[in-house]
């Protein structure tokens, strides 16, 4: 499978105003995100996720290393022809209607006028805003803003979507709809880079994930491998009664085994790593 986003040896330093010192926001990050996959980028606040996304979008320049989008440097505007971006807590010009907003970004994405109207209508329906397309964005709820933001990210028919907190402020039903859209995008062969603090969501949607702590990559792999532990085995028993569980525990104890929770959640892993400062061992 070919690589959609390649981050090679990337570091980013910021000058601290009034000081000669520099703050290293991202430290020697190496990451490859395959095409047609959903990749979750996690980390506590200040871990360097947003900086990494901005470098992938070409909005800031790495101090060291290189970011590539489908083989092109992320600093080239042409690389962004294949990207759609949804920022965290999106803000748009309030006077535009949903339809006008999508037309505006569609024109900027290079969509010809002949295709624009159909694509706008299709996307409004896809994100569930076909009834609100002619209302001003200034009157949208937070959830509606997320949906229209997702629609504008998709307007240019991008191969890669970078979504920062796509379900923030969205009700559970809406969040499930968005998750479903993200899976559809993956099934269409697109790549989705997802940043979210809703770890349960990342766990269910993403194929692979990476956890950043203090600017470094702490862990990266498939969600399954991240959340399973090699020392543990798990057996799923359907309809196990309390009496049956007690007998099994007694048997295991007799044989010298320990029975406990076979999986730990991504959330647990995340918290553990954050406390340890990124060291899994």
């Amino acid at each position: 499978m070919s690589v959609a986003i390649s981050i090679q040896g990337v570091s980013k330093d910021f000058r601290i105003p009034g000081s000669k010192r520099r703050l290293r926001a991202v430290d020697n990050l190496n990451l490859e995100i395959d095409q047609a996959s959903i990749f979750g980028l996690l980390g506590p606040n200040g871990s360097g996720k947003s900086t990494t996304i901005k470098m992938a979008l070409g909005l800031i320049r790495p101090s060291e290393g290189r970011c590539e989008i489908l083989g092109k440097s992320s600093l080239e505007p042409s690389a962004r022809m294949g990207i759609g971006y949804l920022p965290e807590a999106p803000y748009f010009q309030r006077f535009l209607t949903g339809r006008e907003l999508l037309r505006y970004f569609g024109k900027l994405s290079g969509l010809p006028n002949s295709n624009l109207q159909d694509r706008v209508d299709m996307l409004l329906a896809k994100v569930g805003l076909d009834d609100a397309g002619d209302r001003r964005v200034g009157g949208y709820s937070k959830g509606m803003l997320q949906r229209i933001g997702l629609a504008q990210a998709m307007i240019g028919d991008p191969e890669i979507l970078i979504l920062d907190e796509p379900t923030a402020g969205v009700d559970p039903i809406g969040a499930a709809d968005i998750a479903s859209i993200i899976r559809e995008l993956r099934d269409e062969g697109r790549t989705v880079l997802l940043c979210s603090h809703l770890l349960s969501q990342v766990e269910t949607i993403c194929d692979r994930a990476a956890i950043m702590v203090k600017g470094k990559l702490a862990l990266e792999g498939s969600v399954d491998s991240l959340t399973s532990t090699s020392e543990w085995s798990s057996i799923c028993i359907d309809g196990l009664t309390t009496e049956g569980r007690e007998k099994l525990e007694a048997l295991a104890e007799e044989a010298g085994f320990e029975i406990s929770t076979p999986r730990r959640s991504l959330e647990e892993l995340f918290l553990e790593l954050s406390k340890r400062g990124g060291d899994r061992k």
Partner: protein
């Protein structure tokens, strides 16, 4: 999925899309509507004040009000609207969403400039229309009162002169907008960009005095200082082409052409520097 070509050509179309959106946003700003209303009311109020006008004809007095609106309100509008609409995009992070699209930063800078410049040009155009209407109304009533003044067939007001003055202000505003955009490309607050814009507006009006003083002083050091001040900023005083234009003073067409060249050269220069500055800015 659609194919994407490898090279992204620079697109005037994208620039115009940004300009159009900027214009739509600008004309909806309460400030724009307030300034336009204020300038038109001030012009209308000149009819009340004309009874107290001393030493200049009442038509010139009304013209002063119109020209005053264009220079004072037009300049204030240019500074505030440019700073707010450029930095507003960065502060609200809409610039990030926009620049995450295949858009050159230069397209963004130029699109913003075009949008605000056209907005203020429309303001000056509206004020010009109102001024022409006000003068025509007053001239018509004077014609009825004193028909003998018009026996030679010539009117009291040269409406062409008003148009030339308005055009000169549009060129001046172009330079001012491009300067404020330059400040906005590295400022972190719109207040800073606005304050710098006001300073440059005032200093630009006084630039010609620095040049003259530099020629008049003896000391080489002072000559260098005043010469530096005289060269580094544009001379906005050039665009004060004479309030007498409306009253028949002639303005050679070549002057309008030269003012256009002057305005275009300075605007291009400041926009070029602004583009370089914005390309280096990290969002």
């Amino acid at each position: 999925m659609s194919k994407k070509s490898d090279r992204l050509p620079w697109s005037p179309g994208r620039m115009l899309v940004i300009a159009s959106n900027t214009f739509r946003e600008a004309v909806r700003m309460k400030l724009f509507l307030a300034m336009t209303g204020l300038a038109i009311c001030a012009l209308a109020s000149s009819f009340l004040f004309r009874e107290f006008n001393f030493g200049s004809s009442e038509l010139k007095f009304i013209t002063d009000f119109g020209f005053g609106g264009m220079t004072v309100f037009g300049s204030a509008l240019a500074i505030i609207v440019t700073a707010q609409l450029f930095l507003g995009e960065i502060e609200h992070r809409t610039a990030m969403t926009l620049l995450a699209k295949p858009v050159y930063r230069s397209e963004f800078v130029l699109g913003k400039f075009m949008g605000v410049w056209i907005t203020v040009a429309c303001f000056i155009g509206m004020l010009t229309l109102c001024l022409v209407l006000a003068l025509w109304m007053r001239e018509s009533s004077i014609r009825l009162e004193y028909p003998e003044e018009f026996e030679r067939g010539q009117g009291l007001v040269q409406y062409g002169g008003i148009v030339w003055f308005s055009l000169a202000q549009v060129f001046r505003i172009g330079i001012l907008c491009s300067l404020v955009i330059l400040f906005s490309t590295y400022a972190t607050s719109s207040l800073f960009a606005m304050v710098m814009g006001v300073l440059v507006w005032i200093v630009g009006q006084l630039q010609h005095i620095a040049t003259e003083v530099g020629q008049a002083v003896e000391s080489l050091a002072l000559k260098a200082v005043y010469g530096f001040a005289g060269f580094v900023l544009p001379n906005f005083h050039l665009f004060d082409v004479g309030e007498g234009l409306a009253m028949g003073e002639a303005l050679p067409i070549s002057v309008v052409g030269k003012l256009l060249i002057y305005g275009v050269l300075y605007s291009i220069f400041y926009l070029a520097v602004a583009t370089v500055s914005f390309n280096r800015r990290e969002l």
